[in-house]
């Protein structure tokens, strides 16, 4: 049983733009659980969809037991269990009918299917609502139906994309246990941006950022890469922002003596810094924040017209990714010189720029409110009433 991905690339074209969702990804998998980590928009779902034969790659190939799936998808489809990130159900069918329908579509034998469906419903804790129309299910219940359908055909290749989204903590732990149980003689690919989910079950971890595979190793090796580089620093909350500008802060906790910040840095950020044992989150953030992989960030170029110095947002590409919170929905980019804060909305996004630091003068905070689509261009109004500030956003690829 072997899944090989060779030089896989995927481009999306539209609106006169080409978006490189995946770029020359190479990976070979044997039975076990692969945790696929990456920030939103890293290309995880695109990779999952290609592996699930839903999407065709632009170039490269995927081999399932040495058979190329683009030309011969059915050998893989026969043994595939797939839980997409966004999927729907037929609202008028109940759970039993829906699973029976999918079992028929997958070609599973009638003799065993009824019994297995009952067991799967028990497994995902939906037996009591099995005869209710799916239209009345909550998001978490639908997610569990998704998990059940993915296991219908006892898959050899199980691909689950953000499987714990919408599950309560108890069900989430239960699902992680289930994945551990299932991971014997099958390949499981678990895609998520929640590091703790992967930490619990993965036998190997791949990190995707901006379509590039930037790491693929066992958890121990990833942890070893940041051994001796994780520090605890206690700072007053007023200095936290400056700390974020200078160092990669993986987490913070407010205590009575100040903010306890977990910092990933080659050397101690300050004399009082205390070394800590690294966890996977440190390794993950360190990997995605490496020079040349500032993929979480979006580069902003401002074209000031009537106010502020002309250096505003010049060449952000030279700047380090100065701060990155644990929540991948917040990304800081920094650069240029500018005096004065401003905040404005761009479609579904709110952009906040701050200016209190010297070298990394502006921090841009992108808050994804509803939708993952990134704006490419916007106009904003700063706090001083200037309305002619124009911001261009471009993806930050390989630090260029």
């Amino acid at each position: 049983m072997r899944l090989v991905v060779e030089n896989l690339s995927k481009e999306y074209r539209g609106g006169g733009q080409v978006v490189q969702a995946l770029s020359k990804v190479q990976i070979a998998l044997r039975p076990g659980v692969l945790g696929l980590l990456g920030p939103n928009g890293a290309g995880k779902s695109t990779l999952m969809r290609i592996l699930a034969t839903i999407t065709q790659p632009s170039s490269g190939r995927v081999l399932w037991n040495d058979v190329e799936i683009a030309h011969h998808p059915d050998p893989l489809r026969t043994v595939l269990g797939y839980l997409p990130q966004d999927f729907g159900v037929y609202p008028n069918l109940n759970a039993l009918e829906f699973l029976e329908y999918l079992a028929a579509v997958k070609g599973i034998q009638t003799a065993t299917v009824r019994k297995r469906i009952g067991e799967l419903l028990e497994l995902v804790n939906l037996t009591e609502v099995a005869k209710r129309p799916l239209g009345g299910y909550s998001g978490g219940m639908r997610q569990r139906i998704g998990i059940a359908q993915a296991l219908l055909n006892d898959p050899q290749l199980l691909i689950v994309d953000e499987p714990t989204a919408g599950l309560d903590p108890e069900e989430r732990v239960r699902f992680r246990n289930l994945l551990s149980e299932l991971s014997g003689e099958r390949i499981v690919i678990l895609s998520t941006h929640i590091v703790s989910d992967v930490e619990a079950v993965a036998s190997s971890i791949a990190i995707l950022a901006h379509g590039h595979l930037i790491a693929h190793d066992v958890p121990e090796a990833l942890l070893a890469s940041v051994a001796g580089k994780v520090w605890q620093v206690v700072v007053p909350s007023s200095e936290l922002y400056a700390l974020r500008q200078k160092h990669l802060v993986s987490s913070t906790a407010h205590r009575s003596d100040g903010v306890h910040a977990r910092v990933v840095a080659d050397a101690a950020p300050e004399n009082a810094a205390r070394p800590l044992d690294p966890v996977l989150e440190d390794a993950y953030l360190s990997a995605v924040a490496q020079p040349g992989h500032h993929c979480l960030g979006y580069c902003a170029r401002g074209l000031p017209r009537a106010h502020s110095p002309s250096e505003l947002f010049v060449d952000l590409g030279l700047c380090a990714l100065s701060g990155l919170s644990g929540d991948s929905r917040q990304t800081y980019a920094a650069g240029g010189t500018h005096a004065g804060d401003f905040q404005f909305r761009m479609g579904r996004w709110t952009v906040v720029a701050r200016s209190e630091c010297v070298h990394f003068a502006c921090g841009l905070l992108f808050r994804e409110e509803h939708h993952p689509a990134r704006p490419r261009h916007a106009r904003g109004t700063d706090s001083r009433g200037h309305s002619d500030l124009e911001i261009h956003l471009r993806s930050w690829e390989n630090g260029k």
């Binding site: 969809r49 699930a52 034969t53 839903i54 065709q56 059915d74 489809r77 026969t78 595939l80 797939y82 997409p84 966004d86 999927f87 729907g88 159900v89 037929y90 609202p91 008028n92 069918l93 009918e97 029976e100 329908y101 999918l102 079992a103 028929a104 579509v105 997958k106 070609g107 599973i108 034998q109 003799a111 065993t112 019994k115 297995r116 067991e119 799967l120 028990e122 497994l123 804790n125 939906l126 037996t127 009591e128 609502v129 209710r132 239209g135 009345g136 299910y137 909550s138 219940m141 359908q149 055909n153 006892d154 903590p169 108890e170 069900e171 732990v173 239960r174 246990n177 289930l178 149980e181």
Partner: protein
């Protein structure tokens, strides 16, 4: 409302500008009288468009008119509205303003054609009698006409205000809760489970080694359940009533009319064919299963065929019992044509609207008004005996290939 009106208004403007172009291209007259040319568009078409735009908003605010059913209702309302001034005997209900133009044209025609009788009809094609011409200077815009048109504008505003009262999507809390909310509220919450319970306490039955067999009957049953489930009880009552009526109604002509009704009734069922996977976002689950084209697509098609057989079955049985084999064959072609038409349009368009509109129009002009060329269900005995059923058989085959190609395209995109 404003955006609807802008779209419709733009269409009218293009039509008006085309009028100038046509006049110049055909060399009718180089002198352009802008008011005479644009006045009908402004005074007749624009108020009509305003009402149509307002109706669209109104339909959006009424849940059961929001989807495909609303399209069908609008079609019949439009068809009825066209003939309403004649039926009501007053031009006050002439939304389109068609009779303003007709009356003006007839008045102009009367002096030069004194010995003729007058009637108004729209027609295309050739006439087997000599055509006479008359000079028409256009509509004389009286105050009465203008006021009537302004009243229609007022009607559109009333409809918009009514829509505003009916619109309830800003606030879900007051009044009676929505059905989904009710369902969610009454949903049985599964018992809490302890996460520490080992998952292995539930063992899964192993599947047969070679499990991926074709289970066409199982898929067909599931597809049939999918297409039929979720209708209100009265839908089934009407469908059954029409199926029985098409068998027991004595005269062939009347049976044809009943068959036409029986085969418009499930239009919203057929219009979901080929689009359900994308509409309900299940395509990733279905298209990642083995052989999606060979297994699932034929089952979808066959479920549509079975719906046609069930709803129009009475007519078929009557043909069979009467020994009308030719009629039976033509009826069968109709049975195959409808779902194939729906599937091909659905797969390529990704929405049920094209089928709902095209099929309803075809049904209205063909079977209902007995135009043999468009009578795809051969509801009239004369059509069954003609060569038209053969045409629809060929068309069905072409549409099947189109549907198949569309699904292949979906899988490769």
């Amino acid at each position: 409302m404003a955006s609807n009106l802008a779209v419709l208004g733009l269409m009218v403007v293009i039509l008006a500008v085309s009028g100038i172009a046509m006049q110049l291209v055909r060399g009718e007259d180089r002198h352009i009288e802008l008011w005479k040319l644009f006045a009908p568009f402004l005074l007749l078409a624009f108020p009509a468009m305003a009402v149509v735009a307002a109706i669209a908003v109104l339909f959006e605010t009424i849940p059961f008119l929001r989807g495909g059913f609303g399209n069908i209702v609008y079609f019949f309302a439009w068809a009825t509205g066209l003939s309403l001034p004649i039926a009501a005997g007053t031009h006050a209900v002439d939304l389109t303003g068609m009779f303003v133009v007709a009356d003006s044209a007839l008045s102009a025609a009367r002096p030069s054609l004194q010995n003729s009788t007058f009637s108004l009809s729209f027609d295309l094609g050739y006439f087997d009698f000599p055509l006479s011409t008359f000079r028409w200077e256009g509509v004389t815009w009286t105050a009465e006409i203008v006021i009537t048109r302004i009243i229609w504008l007022g009607c559109s505003l009333v409809l918009v205000i009514l829509s505003a009262f009916l619109f309830d999507r800003f606030d879900l809390s007051p009044g009676k809760p929505r059905r989904e909310t009710q369902e969610a509220a009454t949903a049985v919450v599964p018992r809490r489970v302890n996460a520490s319970i080992p998952v292995s306490s539930v063992s899964l039955t192993p599947l047969c080694t070679e499990q991926a067999h074709s289970r066409f009957l199982a898929i067909l049953t599931a597809e049939l359940r999918l297409i039929l489930k979720g209708q209100k009880w009265w839908w089934y009552v009407v469908a059954t009533g029409l199926a029985i009526a098409s068998a027991v109604v004595p005269t062939a002509e009347a049976r044809g009319l009943v068959l036409a009704c029986a085969w418009i009734w499930p239009v919203l069922l057929w219009s979901s064919m080929g689009i359900r996977e994308t509409r309900e976002q299940t395509y990733q689950l279905i298209f990642s299963a083995p052989h999606p084209i060979a297994r699932q697509l034929p089952a979808v098609w066959m479920a549509g065929v079975l719906v046609a057989l069930l709803t129009g079955g009475g007519f078929g049985i009557r043909l069979l019992l009467g020994g009308n084999i030719r009629g039976l064959m033509a009826w069968f072609i109709g049975v195959f044509f409808i779902p194939t038409f729906a599937l091909s349009l659905g797969v390529w368009s990704g929405t049920g609207k094209p089928f709902e509109i095209c099929y309803t129009l075809l049904w209205y002009v063909g079977p209902l008004h007995a135009v043999p060329q468009l009578d795809f269900m051969a509801s009239a005995p004369a059509t069954a005996a003609s060569r038209y059923p053969l045409f629809y058989l060929v068309l069905t085959c072409i549409l099947a290939v189109v549907a198949l190609t569309g699904r292949k395209h979906q899988l490769k995109s």
